[in-house]
Symmetry: C2
Subunit: 328 residues, 2 copies
DNA sequence: ATGTTCTATGTAACCGGTTACACAATGCAG
DNA sequence: CTGCATTGTGTAACCGGTTACATAGAACAT
């Protein structure tokens, strides 16, 4: 490994001088600078971030903690974070928490041990000690809290929008699929939808699910049709579940959207690809990730400044699992 | 931040002793050990990995470089890598290369600067200087090379299998969708399929695609039906494209698998969810990720040892975009 | 009793950077 | 020409750990 000492020797100067040209601070003679640059070039030197980080007590690393990258909503978020962070010279340490506190704590510890300068986390456990005692810039992603800045989409509005849409399009017997109770955004959506359903002249039922896992989606779908075979409008807890429901409905020979309308949540990329293409409530995942990184890096620069959160708008994406014509 | 000095002072010993109990080496008296442990506990100390890494010239970090985490094949890989790495006490630095050499070089540089102890990369550019001159344990994932250990699935066999299946099930006019030419595994599959098609008594056409991006998938599908409206069997370049093709076919009123059979590649989780559920060639992505991490960590322990690669078997997953009955 | 080995602990060098401080040379004002 | 500010560079301390080496007492062998 070529170190700053090698460069110094090669250029016939001290390490301090090399450091000065590297960081572009302090006084350096024109000629000297040129020599040092040449030496750097020649030895193909690039400074050890670890040493740097040790002295500075801060790296160029950001910790990103997600529930599960395997859930298709998160890669978008992650990519948004990465792109923005990368643009500003930061790299990502990645962790999957599986919504498990143990794992989460583990990751946070190693993030800190590695001198990350900030963290972006999609956690339901902000109120735990570990976060309280963490003195790092932190931003929540897809979650909220009064204690930290957050980037999230308006889940309640999303839920309302989904329910309103279904009602407007003439659904009479709505089934609302409730996401896992420990996942905050899921309950926001649920509440939003309930608000609208409660005030409308429709029958409705609620079906609870306890996970967003792929493997279970088809089971939820089956269960749904067993329990509520007569439903003509379904608000799914997310797009995965929605797609599974579409699958099961077609298998049972239902006509979509004639007999049965379905509306998803998230607008993951494959929702456009499914057939019929899924009507859904869009969360701008990539953009949310970008904003979160932006916010975090801003805070890293100005830690004292008052924090602000960003609520992103949700949007109804009308495709073909709901009817074209509104029934007013 | 609480450092080893604080612990030493608190326990009334030297830093060396604290370090000894931390690392469980050297001699430490029973009583002393107890005191130190107590101090650690009390101060809630955990050692700074950065300092450690500087002296040891090696961290507990692994660099993971993927083309694009947003492509649904990769989260599985990533998760496999992460789980195995995590199990063995390693953390991941993540990078998306977009198959772009510039970005790739950038990431590799910062990985090295951060003292990663190894790298797992899905690159098509192993033969570039940057890899040659890298003296880090490296394992290729979903790619191969004679110079490095690799974990990959048998693409040629997968291609053959897809073609054989379609032929056996009676397709007469096969369309082979060729993936981007710069993506190695894509061309392996293509070759495998071609071998079989070339020797069979069927007509076939090849349609080239230049990307795996979601946004383009539906365009490829449309283009396919414009160019080859009479095809009755399609070998898609991956599951995303396959699902888009199913979409387009249904939209055009084709009967699947009656009029048209489709076979995908990868077996991403959503392939089971699509309707009709997709017949596809499965690559054990999660397992591949796990194995790659395993291999890498093994090499980190024994760098001199001769390297070996692992070829994972592919598998035909029969679902409902191909016919039940074989036509012999 | 003496020498050797084992146990226990501390001191200080080291990892590869950054920067406070010291010092010298130069430029410029009076 | 002298004095002070500016410029250019080196020395050494520091970041928070690890470990080579030194030291000393205890245990054991002869």
């Amino acid at each position: 490994m070529v170190t700053i000492k090698d460069v110094a020797k090669h250029a016939g100067v001290s390490v301090a001088t090399v450091s000065r040209v590297l960081n572009n601070n302090g006084y350096v003679g024109t000629e000297t600078r040129k020599n040092v640059m040449a030496a750097i070039e020649e030895l193909n030197y690039s400074p050890n971030e670890v040493a740097r980080s040790l002295y500075k007590r801060g790296s160029r690393l950001i910790g990103l903690l997600l529930p599960d990258i395997t859930n298709p909503f998160f890669p978008q978020l992650a990519r948004g974070v990465e792109d923005e962070a990368g643009r500003q010279g930061f790299r990502l340490l990645l962790g999957n928490s599986d919504e498990d506190i143990e794992k989460e704590m583990d990751y946070i510890q190693t993030f800190v041990q590695n001198n990350v300068v900030g963290m972006i986390t999609a956690t339901n456990h902000v109120d735990y000690d570990m976060y309280q005692s963490l003195d790092l810039p932190l931003v929540l992603l897809d979650r909220t809290s009064s204690s930290y800045p957050a980037v999230y989409a308006d889940g309640r509005e999303g839920g309302r929008l989904a329910a309103e849409t279904l009602i407007k399009k003439g659904a009479q017997r709505v089934t609302l699929v409730k996401g896992p109770a420990h996942v905050k955004p899921a309950v926001d959506r649920y509440r939003g939808a309930m608000e609208v359903l409660g005030e409308a002249d429709v029958d409705f039922s609620v079906m609870s699910t306890t996970s967003y896992a792929f493997e279970e989606a088809l089971n939820w779908a089956e269960e749904l049709f067993q329990k509520f075979p007569e439903t003509d409008g379904i608000i799914a807890s997310n797009d995965i579940v929605a797609i599974a429901i579409v699958h099961e409905a077609l298998k049972r020979g239902k006509n979509i959207p004639g007999d049965l309308q379905i509306i998803g949540y998230d607008d993951i990329p494959q929702s456009r690809l499914s057939y019929p293409p899924l009507t859904t409530i869009r969360q701008p995942a990539y953009e949310m990730g970008r904003k979160a990184a932006e916010l975090l890096i801003q805070r890293i620069g100005h830690p004292q400044q008052e924090h602000r959160s960003i609520q992103m708008p949700v949007e109804l994406i009308q495709r073909h699992t709901t009817r074209k014509d509104d029934q007013e």
